[in-house]
């Protein structure tokens, strides 16, 4: 899923990252569940790109982002920063990694210390990373950063977090990134808690960061419409596994994994004259309780499940230019059920 790059070493790379959690409970359920199951991803700083990671709740999106940020370690696999495992970075490299790979978290209410004024998050980074030489330069930098995210400094400076709306607080986080100018932003559901009218402002800033400042972004979301708005590449995550990757246009117009297809038919359209024509059946939304390594994760819900789907983990099959799906329906050597053939799987 990589686009061309100036050099071949991705700025941030996940290689076969797996994160298992122990599950307690009755003897039937006890064991390990792979929240993230052999996920690989390469993020390049040049050319700047936006990759959307889309998945439902429980698909492992947040766990994966925490692994990329070094907040939790993978069970197996590794995360590389400019080719070096982030656990093996020396002090200076680690500092560079921390500076260049920056998060935006989901909850705009939980990330601020309520006792400090809002501009403190900006002043802290200026201080910690010694971005300004004088105090007046620091003040100018704060002003400039706030303006860069469509906030008027006078509206924000001197206020406490509770006095700003969620959208404003999220944009202050972007102002912080504007000061740091990292190579990569890991944004974990940054707009899920803010209103639509303000949401597009936030997304536009991310696009501007990419186009004007050359900042790449891994945009993690459950909302396909938002991912579509941003464009670029998409990875679809289902119960910890990547089931489909490709350019967002291809994936939206020609979804090649049954899971992606179902996800797309469930997205409410904003056209009241063109409402859902299909019904969602209940069985298809129940989650499998256990996680089995040698199966397709979607097999219990897949309308086209075949015997092989319960026997092997499907590898990635090319389904279009740069588009891959982990689904045996694209294996030429497998005989498909009639329903699948009718649905266009050959």
């Amino acid at each position: 899923m990589n686009t061309m790059s100036d050099n071949n070493v991705p700025t941030l790379q996940a290689r076969n990252v797996t994160k298992e959690f122990a599950v307690s409970g009755s003897s039937l359920r006890r064991g390990h569940i792979a929240a993230v199951d052999q996920v690989s991803l390469s993020l390049y700083a040049k050319p700047p790109q936006i990759i959307s990671l889309v998945g439902e709740s429980g698909s492992g999106k947040t766990t994966f982002s925490r692994i990329l940020l070094g907040l939790t370690g993978p069970t197996t696999g590794e995360v590389l920063y400019r080719g070096t495992n982030i656990l093996a970075l020396n002090k200076q490299q680690f500092r560079e990694y921390r500076l260049n790979v920056q998060p935006v978290f989901q909850d705009p209410y939980g990330i601020y210390n309520p006792f400090y004024r809002i501009e403190r998050v900006l002043e802290l980074v200026i201080h910690n990373f010694k971005l300004a030489k004088t105090k007046s330069q620091a003040i100018d930098m704060v002003d400039e950063a706030l303006r860069a995210v469509d906030l008027r400094p006078n509206d924000v400076i001197g206020r406490y977090p509770h006095q700003l709306s969620g959208g404003e607080r999220q944009r202050v986080m972007l102002a912080r990134l504007y000061l740091l100018k990292p190579r990569i932003i890991i944004a974990d559901e940054p707009v899920s808690m803010i209103d639509v009218a303000v949401r597009t402002l936030f997304l536009n800033i991310l696009l501007d960061f990419r186009d004007k400042l050359g900042i790449s972004c891994l945009f993690i979301t459950h909302n396909l419409s938002t991912a579509y708005y941003l464009g670029g590449q998409i990875m679809v995550l289902c119960f910890g596994r990547v089931v489909e990757t490709g350019s967002i246009d291809q994936v939206v117009h020609n979804p090649s994994h049954p899971y992606t297809q179902q996800l797309l038919t469930s997205v409410p359209s904003i056209d009241p004259e063109n409402r859902w024509s299909t019904r969602s059946n209940l069985e298809s939304v129940e989650r499998p309780v256990t996680h089995e390594a040698n199966k397709c994760v979607y097999v219990t819900r897949c309308p086209y499940a075949m015997p092989i789907c319960s026997q092997q983990r499907p590898p990635d099959f090319a389904t279009g230019e740069g588009q891959y799906a982990a689904c045996f329906l694209h294996d030429r050597n497998v005989e498909k059920p009639e329903a699948a053939v009718e649905a266009g799987f050959k």
């Binding site: 639509v196 696009l207 009241p272």
Partner: protein, 359 residues
């Protein structure tokens, strides 16, 4: 209903067009000039500040607006659930329901009734699924027991009958009978939400008010629940007030919609009208900021500016600091909610004579 389109808030501006009254006999819930304020140390927070809207029988009415616009407070006010320091400042809420004694419709004013008179109406006639209801199920009670509890509390029936009713309602929302014996922690988010809906409809109410019932759920589950809601509405002849910030959900579900902003109703119309031909600049901004999946990708600007505070709504039109069409009059005079086109109510000077005079 005599004056459905009356001026929403003082100071009273000149009325432009003469409002044509909407059909009266189909009104189920008439919310008139309703204000719900909160007393805070910095003054009165006028969270709901003069809302006029009529909900008709058997419709799905979508109540939309950004967070903090007062939509949840409005429905809590209608249900008389406001707790101190909140209080109902003014208004009338006329609710028309069939009285079981003689089968004829009675109209009551929920705001002038005593709380002890409102209470019997809840669950029997007006059901409410509050925001985050699925997280307020009692963790140490079986599903059937907590639903039966609500039934016994709000109707005169026996425990055995209540239990039988529970099974039937669970089936109606697509849950297997086995769920009745389970505890909340054994259910997924979507199942829990369906339990709260099943619980709300057990006594066959006329009106269901659901506040963001699918907001925390995945799209697949959301679709299932929305489709079930529509089924239930058909089976029970239910009227639904659906509160959500998510315009796309309204597009799938609602027959008519009301758009709230800063404690007042900005526009009311059918869902198709709202989406295809939004009149109010705020509605226009809202509709245009929704990314449409699969369509041509173009940059949309959203609505710049800050959401105002209920402690000090802007003077004149509350949207004027963010409005692209703002004129002098908008800063001085609050536009009333008037019928701009048949069945379309909009609170914007553009559609009144004042605008022409100003220009």
């Amino acid at each position: 209903m005599s004056n459905n389109t009356k001026v929403t808030t003082p100071p009273a501006p000149q009325q432009g067009t003469v409002p044509a009254p909407l059909s009266q006999q189909h009104a189920l819930l008439q919310i008139k000039d309703t204000r719900v304020w909160y007393t805070t140390i910095t003054g009165e927070a006028r969270v709901v500040d003069g809302v006029d809207v009529t909900i008709n029988k058997n419709e799905v009415f979508g109540l939309a607006g950004e967070s903090g616009c007062g939509k949840s407070t409005l429905v809590e006010g209608v249900l008389r659930l406001i707790k101190s320091p909140g209080h109902i400042k003014s208004g009338h809420v006329l609710f028309t329901y069939p009285k079981s004694v003689n089968g004829e419709d009675t109209t009551v004013d929920l705001f002038t009734m005593g709380l002890n008179e409102v209470r019997p109406l809840r669950w029997q006639h007006i059901a409410y699924v509050p925001q985050g209801a699925m997280n307020s199920l009692n963790p140490v009670m079986r599903i059937e027991d907590q639903i039966a509890d609500a039934i016994l509390e709000h109707s005169k029936t026996t425990k055995a009958k209540a239990m039988a009713n529970v099974r039937q309602r669970l089936d109606m929302v697509g849950l297997p009978a086995s769920v009745a014996h389970m505890y909340p922690h054994e259910l997924s988010g979507g199942m829990k939400q369906r339990v709260t809906i099943a619980s709300a409809i057990t006594l066959r109410p006329e009106l269901l008010i659901a506040d963001e019932p699918t907001t925390a759920l995945d799209v697949n589950v959301q679709k299932v629940i929305l489709q079930e809601l529509l089924d239930i509405r058909k089976q029970l002849n239910l009227t639904i007030v659906y509160v959500s910030h998510d315009m796309a959900v309204h597009a799938e579900l609602a027959d008519r919609m009301g758009i709230m902003y800063a404690g007042v109703m900005m526009e009311v119309g059918t869902t198709i009208q709202i989406f295809k031909d939004p009149l109010h600049p705020y509605t226009q901004g809202l509709i245009h900021s929704i990314p449409d999946i699969g369509k041509e990708r173009k940059r949309v600007e959203g609505i710049p500016g800050l959401a105002p505070s209920p402690l000090a709504w802007p003077n004149g039109c509350r949207f004027h600091p963010r409005c692209p069409h703002v004129k002098d009059i908008c800063k001085r005079v609050e536009p009333p909610l008037l019928e701009a086109r048949p069945g379309r109510l909009v609170a914007c000077h553009i559609y009144s004579e004042l605008w022409d005079k100003a220009s």
